[in-house]
């Protein structure tokens, strides 16, 4: 193994950090109209404070399903999900989800979108001035402060995603859930957004669970990459990416690391080479 790629088995991970999110034997079976789809086999996963975990796997393996269950949009068929020891029951801003599409509210201006979630947060209730200040701070973070008063439809796709990120960070979620970020954007904008996202993460020390089926994206963003098997999904391998941040998605080291991650899938696809480690 190339030491520069620095992918090491997950077992070597420091076990001292506090666990934010814990999934214990979580499964999901969809039943609709007599049809039974087993989406996820028992999943055990722990996410530590400040960690960026990427769920990586083939299409249909249940990555979005897992994220939806953490967010509280769906209930696990069995097993338990806890956040700081409290079981997850419904959607809430402590496990905020950032969607594939920006999902900004078109009836609100940029700044009002960012303040939206703060309305019900302790410390911000009935304090519009404080909400506005916080929102401006976040808009500065994503370099969009001069667009605060613009209607959403006047922004470009990349700008909208950045506003969505600011909106998601506003209520200071304990865990940020990201489902396939920025898929609809061109490579240049994406690369820029990745740098920006990492920069923000380093500064805010957010705990993040993100989903992707792009190995480069996984290598670029993740502290740890969880590789899933095809449906019904189960965890096939865990890889720790120890490249220094910020990482450039076009960096050869990232590409190399992405190769190692992608290999995990290939091995699974033709089912010839067994093995959990690289």
């Amino acid at each position: 193994m190339d030491p520069n790629a620095s992918s090491i088995p997950a077992t070597a991970r420091a076990a001292t950090a506090t666990v934010k999110l814990r999934l214990t034997r979580v499964t999901k079976v969809f039943e609709s109209g007599g049809q039974r789809v087993e989406a996820l086999q028992p999943i055990d996963l722990e996410v530590s404070e400040g960690e960026f975990v990427v769920l990586f796997g083939p299409s249909g393996c249940g990555k979005s399903t897992l994220l939806n269950m953490i967010a509280g949009f769906e209930e696990p068929t069995s097993g338990e999900i806890t956040l700081e020891g409290q079981p997850v029951t419904e959607p809430g801003s402590d496990r905020l989800m950032l969607f594939q599409e920006h999902a900004l509210f078109p009836w609100l201006r940029v700044i009002d979108n960012v303040t939206y979630g703060l309305r019900w947060e302790p410390g911000y209730r009935f304090r519009p001035r404080r909400r506005r200040e916080k929102a401006m701070e976040l808009l500065r973070l994503v370099h969009l402060e001069e667009f605060a008063k613009s209607p959403v439809h006047e922004l470009s796709g990349g700008m909208k995603q950045r506003v969505a990120l600011a909106r998601a960070l506003a209520p200071d979620p304990k865990v940020l859930l990201v489902d396939e970020p920025f898929p609809a954007l061109d490579a240049l904008v994406r690369a820029k957004l990745y740098t920006e996202l990492q920069d923000i993460l380093v500064r805010t020390r957010k705990t993040i669970v993100s989903v992707t089926h792009d190995p480069r994206e996984a290598a670029c963003l993740g502290d740890r990459v969880i590789v899933f098997t095809g449906r019904p999904g189960s965890i096939k391998a865990e890889l720790t990416v120890e490249l220094p941040r910020p990482r450039d998605i076009n960096d050869p080291k990232v590409a190399e690391c992405a190769g190692i991650i992608a290999k995990q899938l290939e091995e699974e696809n033709n089912e010839t080479i067994p093995g959990e480690k690289i």
Partner: protein
């Protein structure tokens, strides 16, 4: 600078209307129908002018508009509320939707006789006709608008911590606004029909009343004049008020391709 296509068409449309008036004038000049039954454009315009300077026109227009303002506000309020309930509860939707669809098949003028029986010749009777004419359109459009809300908005609202009690005002109604505006536009038109129909039967002022008077006096110029005026009024509000609002909202909600 290239003229916008909108501007180019404006000239053509103007020519079309001038041609229409010329056709009317030609038919008149052929004298196929006696002129007291079929007046010329000029006679109609003159009659409108007379009505105006006699102080008949303005109070009537005011009266009809005021009735619409009051009656339609009530209808829109009730329509929005029932539409919201229909949009949020499947049972309410099943029950009320068929009822409202049924009511919508009724011509608006058909509300006038029952209103006469219920309210006599009072102003309330006209409000009743306006409300019954427009209510269903607003309610149905609101509930349809709500059912067509992209689920993504609702999921985003929930993950951002929106409590249930805040959903209707903060998310559901604004997200359904494009549908609601379409319903308001249609409801206003139907209410306008209802108002003029009711005034025909039971009032002493208003555009409908002037139509009725024109018929009583065998004054074809007045009848045609008021008809033209009513059309112009409706068109003006539709094109320059509701259509503009609708367009803006649809653009803002990303429902139109950017030009």
């Amino acid at each position: 600078m290239r003229p916008s296509p909108e501007k180019k068409y404006r000239g053509i449309v103007l020519v079309f209307y001038l041609a229409l008036i010329a056709l009317w004038q030609t038919l008149f000049s052929l004298q196929l129908i006696p002129d007291y039954l079929f007046p010329s454009p000029l006679q109609v315009a003159r009659r409108l002018w007379e009505l105006g300077s006699d102080g008949m026109l303005w109070p009537s227009m005011q009266a009809t508009l005021l009735r619409m303002a009051v009656g339609f506000s009530i209808a829109a309020g009730i329509g929005l509320l029932t539409g919201l309930l229909m949009g949020m509860s499947r049972i309410v939707n099943r029950c009320l939707k068929s009822l409202f669809l049924g009511l919508q098949t009724l011509p608006t003028a058909a509300w006038a006789p029952i209103s006469l029986l219920l309210f006599g010749l009072s102003e309330r009777g006209i409000y009743f006709v306006i409300i019954m004419s427009s209510l269903a359109a607003v309610a149905i459009a609101t509930s349809d608008g709500i059912l067509q809300i992209p689920p993504l908005y609702l999921r985003a609202a929930r993950t951002l911590g929106t409590p249930g009690y805040a959903m209707p005002l903060r998310v559901i109604l604004p997200a359904a606004l494009p549908g609601i505006v379409t319903g308001i536009k249609l409801g206003w038109t139907l209410g306008w029909h209802g108002a003029v129909s009711a005034e025909l039967i039971k009032s002493s002022v208003g555009l409908g009343y002037l139509l009725y008077m024109g018929r009583e006096l065998n004054d074809a110029a007045q009848v045609l004049g008021i008809m033209v005026l009513t059309i112009l009024f409706g068109l003006l509000l539709d094109r320059f008020l509701f259509a503009q609002i609708e367009h803006r909202i649809r653009r803002r909600w990303g429902l139109l391709q950017a030009a």
